[in-house]
Symmetry: C2
Subunit: 436 residues, 2 copies
């Protein structure tokens, strides 16, 4: 077996065996196969694709490259759930759905990522809570699942290290976009993290990695099939990311919005999205008998205060300052809050989530280079979303910025994200089905 | 401009600009773009192809990476010819056509390669002449064109160095097979070597890199178009390499066969191939008025002894022992010469050139690793080729080997190269047209 023959087989459109795929992944992780051979192989995969069996083999080879948890065995619990989003703008869903599901009786052990490109990351959001520790070790992670029922920590470098190395190479060789590579990357981390079942939020639209519903559906189907092949139950909700989810964009602003939502306030679309994801976990865990029962249990968890209390317990367990959860006004707050007046009357016809995401990064809410510091305070709070009527001079949104000049500089970019119409536009769907 | 965007543009099927292609080639040559990005780019080129304009830009970027000769300016001669073969088994054509053309009035300044895989290389063959110097510097090369009219030297490392670096990377990343990359590699070296016109011998069939006539024609057309775009007249002869050319395979054996052919003996197909190539150079140079005139001049150069004398003069000029040219019995000779008897009677139906080429490498006539020593003495002399009748026990060929055991060990592999039939097969064509 040698790397060149394996590259040639893939470029010729052949299916690779488990042994061939394992040889490449192990060789790359060990350093015996150089990156220039792997990058040519990755491009050949982008070209010729991979069968479901090859994708499963790639995924399991990446899992085998590092440590591997089994949360059911480690905790003695009957079912531990996990959730993953392919990334969006204003996507603070984890902070709502995870406490609600945990409060409804399905423990959640989740590893999350940081912001990537124009989309935010749950770990960054949680770090806007002073003292919150996102770097739990294996034992702390397992203990939190068992004792609290809810834990969200940063991805452990010891799980699926091949994925990290491959992703870094894909990022600089134009090989990120590939269904089997994306699916294997996501699923290898989920499998290694050891949950009993995973709900995926596969987003599509302007503010998502997948621009079309068809592409999102293909990725969702690939991952659900993959889960079936490797024995991990997976369900994927297809959700729209043409406009941002909820109203807040920016780390502390989004934590505040999640708290409000768990307390029964907050934007309706955010809670609806949390229900769409949470019900699948309750059904997979066997805690709910059907969708209506699941929704009732999740609404009850919110209305009783149990979901909010679960968030408090997680924050306390991970060393965060729980006073900011009880009083979100104590969260880091930007000194400048500048409304952006509407330049027209009529209706909001479109609201480009990617443009808003990029603007939030420009303002300091995200990173343009890995490892850079971010400003938890900054971002936007939307007042008008698609379908909303606008009267003369009404504010479209409020800019939260560190400096007056930064707020003024970003305004034209924000205005460019809005399109207006004289008549009400068709409503945007929130979700477009579930792949089971 | 950055490498990832250029890789992404090519993988999306876009045409790259001259500037983008130059950026990649210059960056790779200078070491500022890493090999893992170049290998992904090369695989994307294998996938999406390149337009004629892109192929020309790639070629000229490789030429621009090093020194560049102009033999017409450097020598004051009106036309200096060059010849290149895509490689075959028993292909000693250069050693025949180059002296004949030079003797007919078209000086030849040629840089050649060493054996690659199962195909031999002219430089290896010439080194079987004791003392022959294949490492001429720029001034020696130019002086030989001017004063002798014929020179064959090894490829200078200072010409098109980007091609050497790219070829080495392609070799280990499964990206050798690609029309634009092959065409640019060949043509960049030809352009940098500075001839006024080039005849290409584009081989197809079992013993060639291109297995089909269609693939060979596509490569020929790509290179002829490329020559037109960069101002270098190019003609390509499409020749068959299903069976070996001539009768001798092996370095000294092939030199001996070339000498015999220049003296009016030798196999008919070898001289016919030399005429097919040589006439195009005479026509390009304006030395012959039409094909019949060109053939008459080449036959005259052979029959008068002028072509043979030209070979002698080149050997003397490059320090070789001319006594072996005058008496080829003095060439290095293998101690073992073992006939291979026919296992059947009837006709030779097929004779797999690649199998014979690989057997000659196994016997020591070629290399399995770069830089290894080769045995100039060993190889095969065919007695029966496609269409020949065979009586009981007649030898198919004679094995020239260093040891008795080596000859015996290789015999089964050689027998496997032959196919037999009870009735005469259709004759194989020698050439299949010319692309001008």
């Amino acid at each position: 077996m040698n790397a060149v023959d394996i590259i040639l087989a893939k470029r010729a459109g052949q299916s690779l065996s488990n042994e061939q795929i394992g040889y490449m992944v192990q060789g790359y992780t060990a350093g015996s196969i150089p990156d220039y051979q792997i990058s040519a192989w990755l491009m050949a995969i982008c070209w010729q694709g991979m069968t479901a069996a090859e994708t499963a083999a790639l995924t399991m080879a990446m899992v085998a490259s590092g440590d591997h948890l089994d949360l059911r065995l480690a905790t003695g619990l009957p079912f531990v759930g996990d959730k993953h989003s392919t990334g969006g703008v204003g996507d603070k869903t984890t902070l709502v759905v995870a406490p609600a599901v945990a409060a409804a009786g399905v423990p959640i052990g989740k590893m999350s990522g940081r912001g990537l490109g124009f989309s935010g990351g749950t770990i960054d959001k949680l770090e806007s809570i002073p003292g919150f520790n996102v770097n739990l070790d294996r034992e702390q992670f397992i203990a939190a699942v068992k004792n609290v029922g809810l834990v969200i920590t940063a991805q452990s470098a010891s799980l699926a290290p091949a994925d990290g190395k491959l992703y870094a190479l894909r990022d600089v060789t134009g090989t990120v976009e590939s269904l089997p590579l994306i699916a294997a990357s996501i699923m290898s981390k989920k499998i290694a993290a050891g949950a009993s079942g995973v709900v995926l939020d596969v987003k599509h639209g302007r503010g998502a990695f997948m621009k079309t519903l068809a592409a999102a559906r293909a990725l969702a189907e690939t991952m659900v099939t993959l889960g079936g092949q490797v024995g991990l139950p997976v369900r994927a909700v297809l959700s729209s990311m043409d406009q941002p989810l909820g109203l807040a964009i920016g780390n502390a602003l989004e934590v505040g919005e999640a708290i409000a939502t768990l307390r029964g306030g907050g934007p309706a679309d955010l809670w609806a999205e949390a229900l769409a994801l949470g019900r699948e976990l309750l059904l997979m865990a066997g805690v709910a008998s059907d969708a209506a029962d699941a929704d009732a249990r999740l609404n009850q968890a919110r209305d009783s205060g149990a979901a909010f209390d679960m968030l408090r317990r997680m924050v306390i367990n991970q060393g965060g300052d729980v006073r900011v959860i009880d009083d979100p006004a104590l969260l880091p707050t930007a000194p400048i809050q500048m409304p952006l007046p509407a330049p027209a009357v009529g209706y909001v016809a479109a609201l480009d989530a990617e443009t808003l995401g990029r603007a939030s990064v420009a303002l300091g809410a995200g990173r343009t280079v890995k490892g850079a510091a971010i400003d938890f305070r900054v971002g936007f709070v939307l007042h008008k979303k698609v379908g909303d009527a606008i009267a003369t001079g009404e504010p479209l949104l409020t800019i939260h910025a560190a400096r007056d000049a930064a707020a003024r500089d970003i305004a034209p970019q924000l205005l460019a994200a809005y399109e207006f119409s004289a008549t009400p536009p068709l409503p945007l769907p929130l979700t477009n089905g579930v792949v089971r």
